[in-house]
């Protein structure tokens, strides 16, 4: 049985559910049935779903536990935020036609060179993918080439996002310092506050997540994906067979970073702010727990985990703010000790999945962590 036709077959369930719920929520809110705030709330969950999918690609399939993936997410967000800042134009508090408010406030007289071009949407779109991708390329090239792996890699990814956190807190970096970028007015000419724009952004997020799912599925089921799983499970053995594990890791690492960056770019217009807090190492680790809860090494699991965990977070922080950190902490301990395959593992136990690739990936996931 050749895997090629399977790789090309588009699984419809996940994209239909994701896009369908996005359209449904948008329609309910526009129709006045549901409160307006759930549009950006659900949009946020789906953006986290994109981040979780990206983390799962490297962790679940490449065996690389990244504790700094939120950095790529935030970089994409900053690129989009810069576009949105330029769209404010002279409507800022200080009314400067060229400079964003925080630069006027800091007594800057000219736009820094790296802000040029961001007034054009296509340029910003390229940067959303290029900046996280390039950072991942440089970082991954250095790390994988010298065979840094396991917890060492995890810790330096954490150090990476920590360094970016510190750097973006600085006012003279030119990204708004502590306050970040905010007070956005419109995107592509549409008012960012209006219900219709928000609904459109939510549906767009749903569509992008679906496309990324399809892409991830194709990648992981391709020949490349098979080798990647082999690298995850037995890196030395794969190397002895003549493959170059570092190249496979680097490709999936950069792809994952670009996907996370796109997630961040969709996140910022819906939330309305991007600040250095997004670089906090905790955010990256939370993304890892979404994946673990949903089921590492599956593609639907991380999306499910991101939505469910964040839904629980919204509920708990609203009613019992103290309890959320306890709950999150117990979730980490519980999932790793008792439920290593996540929610998808529970589903699989009841209904034996007939897709051999996914099942093999899930069963291999546990061994891979050694």
């Amino acid at each position: 049985m050749s895997p090629a036709p399977r790789a090309l077959a588009v699984p419809l369930a996940v994209p239909v559910i994701v896009t369908g719920t996005a359209v449904l929520v948008a329609a309910l809110a526009l129709g006045g049935v549901a409160p307006a705030y759930i549009v950006s709330l659900y949009g946020k969950y789906l953006c986290y779903g994109i981040l979780a999918l990206a983390v799962d690609l490297v962790w679940g399939f490449g065996g690389i536990l990244s504790l700094g993936h939120a950095a790529f997410f935030a970089l994409g967000g900053y690129a989009m935020g810069m576009y949105l800042m330029r769209q404010i134009g002279p409507r800022g508090v200080y009314g400067d036609p060229l400079l964003p408010d925080f630069m006027v406030f800091l007594n800057w007289h000219a736009l820094p060179w790296y802000w040029h071009g961001f007034s054009h949407f296509p340029f910003a779109l390229v940067m959303v993918m290029l900046v996280p991708g390039l950072l991942a390329l440089v970082f991954g090239y250095l790390a994988f080439r010298s065979r840094v792996s396991g917890v060492y890699l995890s810790i330096i990814t954490q150090a990476l996002t920590y360094a970016l956190l510190l750097a973006f807190f600085r006012n003279d970096m030119g990204f708004g310092g502590n306050n970040g970028l905010t007070d956005f007015k419109d995107i592509l000419g549409f008012n960012i506050e209006s219900g219709r724009t928000r609904a459109a952004l939510l549906v767009a997020t749903g569509v992008v997540l679906s496309l990324q799912y399809v892409l991830a599925r194709a990648v992981t089921r391709s020949r490349f994906g098979k080798v990647l799983i082999a690298v995850r499970d037995a890196e030395s053995r794969t190397r002895f067979l003549g493959y170059r594990p570092e190249s496979y890791k680097l490709v999936i690492w950069v792809l994952s970073a670009v996907m996370a960056g796109i997630g961040g770019a969709l996140y910022v217009p819906q939330i309305g702010i991007i600040n250095p807090g997004e670089f906090a190492p905790t955010n990256s680790i939370e993304a890892v727990i979404w994946v673990a809860v949903g089921g590492r090494g599956t593609l639907a699991g991380p999306i499910l985990g991101a939505v469910l965990v964040n839904f629980a977070k919204t509920l708990l922080t609203g009613t019992l703010p103290e309890a959320w950190l306890y709950a999150l902490g117990f979730l980490f301990v519980f999932v790793t000790l008792v439920m290593p395959k996540g929610l998808m593992g529970l589903v699989r136990m009841r209904r034996r999945d007939d897709v051999p690739g996914a099942a093999a990936a899930a069963s291999a996931a546990k061994e891979a962590t050694g």
Binding site: Y162, A163, I289
Partner: protein, 531 residues
């Protein structure tokens, strides 16, 4: 203005700067001037009296300042006491009925002369510390008019240290004196150069209108002083770096055991440090409640074993309940212990509240000393000593005790150790408890220099991992060197790049370093490295 007055006074009234200090002969004209009705005379009298060395001078000038000095028509002076009685100003003898008196009036010029005079007078105070302070004040505000007073004071000064300071003040004044000879000025520049410090540098740099030779000497002295200051700055940075390194070492030593020796990645390690700091807080609260205040200084030495035991027991519990199910799965261990750190933080927040708790520094640990241009605070010094002590104690435990032997046996070959009758699960638990207990002791030290809050541990966890990885996993010496090197690099980068950027640079350098040497500065060699 004040200077001018003093100069006039001194030139007009003093017999000579080195003249004999015969009290009656020297003071009588000054007292006569004080009883004058002209403010100029009074100011001159004040200045003369101040440098006379007369034991009554302080009392008289003080009385004048307080508006308690009275003059009779025959120029005799009387001081009115608080109870309304009078004493003779010249002799100090009580005067029963002085007759008709008028108060000696002062204007601003006299007040200025009084201030200067009382300042110069302190050069003759019986207390050496007061004399030293007076000399330093004159050094900071050099005044050529004070030179005669300084000369007299130097001649009679018994304390060598104070004498040096007076000579330095005199040198500063000489450089401001319009008619000083070139040789005197050169000598003064040399004196200031020998004194060193920022003030001397400022004085030398601020000189103007000097002869070329003097200006040249001053410029040379300034650059020499700059060199000295730079050296002291380096020394100070090195000291700060050493201090930061000792803190990192304390936080990382426990980690070197759990991560380095056992290979367990414990993200809750920072929370063990935090528990140690809170244990210190609780010990201090109990001391305040139940122990006599005289013994309060013992609270820190008592807190050290308490923190060790508390954090150690929590560590053993973690190992038994959680980590032992995750051996061989480092990434899962990382996630589970991260969850645990969230729980511990939130638990402390629930019990003690989210705000910072006050942990006092006992009197014997506070204070500072100055060595040359180096400022050394005692609590930092104690922390460095403590860190070194902990390191050596830990090495002794690992090398000289049965537990250490068993630990090393288990890490080198678990199955063989088990076959020899070592209860490996217990060794694992005790090793983890030891590492956690050491982290708790680090918390005691950190409570002295950092805020005791539920987030205390978070700030150190990444740095601690960096230290362990940098130094080489499983190597305590490497950890020590790694901590000190990272601390010193951090502190040397800070003035150049700023605190935040310095930290970023260190992180980036470290990431690059791990690229080059993935196993740290001091990698283990031989079979242990294969694990």
């Amino acid at each position: 203005m004040r200077a001018l007055l003093l100069v006039v006074a001194l030139l007009g009234l003093l017999v000579g700067p080195h003249g004999p200090a015969s009290a009656e002969g020297g003071v009588a004209p000054a007292l006569a001037a004080l009883s004058s009705r002209h403010y100029d005379d009074i100011a001159n009298g004040v200045a003369a009296l101040a440098v006379s060395g007369d034991p009554r001078a302080a009392a008289i000038l003080g009385a004048l300042q307080g508006g308690r000095l009275y003059a009779r028509a025959d120029h005799a002076l009387f001081i009115r006491g608080p109870d309304g009685t009078y004493v003779d100003a010249a002799t100090g003898a009580p005067a029963a009925d002085p007759g008709t008196l008028r108060e000696v009036r002062v204007n601003n010029a006299v007040r200025r002369a009084l201030d200067a005079g009382l300042g110069a007078l302190r050069l003759f105070a019986p207390d050496a510390a007061v004399r030293a302070t007076a000399a330093d004040t004159l050094f900071a505000q050099p005044d050529p008019a004070a030179i005669p007073a300084l000369d007299r004071a130097i001649a009679s000064e018994p304390d060598a240290g104070v004498k040096t300071r007076m000579e330095q003040a005199r040198a500063a004044a000489i450089l401001q004196k319009p008619d000083a000879s070139e040789a005197d000025r050169l000598a003064a520049v040399a004196t200031l150069r020998a004194r060193g410090g920022l003030e001397a540098r400022g004085l030398l740099e601020g000189l103007s209108g000097q002869p070329p030779a003097v200006a040249h000497a001053a410029a040379a002295a300034v650059s020499a002083l700059d060199f000295d200051l730079r050296l002291w700055n380096y020394a100070q940075s090195a000291w700060y770096g050493l201090s930061l390194g000792s803190v990192l070492l304390l936080a990382a030593t426990g980690l070197a055991i759990t991560f380095g020796v056992m290979g367990v990645i414990n993200m809750a390690h920072g929370e063990m440090v935090m528990l140690g700091a809170y244990a210190t807080y609780v010990v201090q609260v109990l001391f305040r409640a139940y122990v006599p205040p005289g013994l309060y200084g013992l609270s820190i030495p008592v807190a050290i074993p308490v923190a060790f035991v508390v954090a150690g027991i929590v560590g053993i519990a973690i190992e038994r309940l959680m980590i032992r199910f995750l051996y061989g799965r480092p990434l899962e261990t990382l996630l589970a212990t991260f969850g645990l750190s969230l729980i511990l933080q939130q638990a402390v927040r629930t019990i003690f509240g989210p705000t910072n708790r006050d942990v006092d520094t006992p009197a014997w640990m506070s204070g500072a000393t100055q060595i040359g241009g180096l400022q050394i605070t005692f609590n930092r010094l104690y922390i460095i000593l403590f860190a070194v002590g902990v390191l050596f104690a830990l090495m002794a435990v690992l090398r000289r005790t049965p537990l250490g032997l068993q630990m090393r046996a288990v890490t080198q070959n678990r199955r063989m150790a088990a076959a020899m009758g070592i209860r490996t699960p217990w060794v694992d638990a005790l090793t983890f408890g030891l590492g956690s207990g050491v982290a708790g002791m680090a918390g005691v030290a950190l409570s002295q220099i950092d805020n005791v809050s539920p987030n205390l541990g978070q700030g150190y966890i990444i740095d601690s991992f960096m230290v362990v990885v940098f130094g080489g996993v499983g190597n305590l010496w490497g950890t020590a060197v790694g901590a000190v090197v990272l601390g010193v690099i951090n502190k040397f980068l800070e003035p150049v790049a700023g605190a935040v950027l310095g930290k970023i640079v260190v992180l980036v350098l470290l990431i690059l370093f791990i690229q080059r040497r993935p196993r740290g500065m001091f990698p283990l060699k031989g079979r242990a490295a294969e694990a």
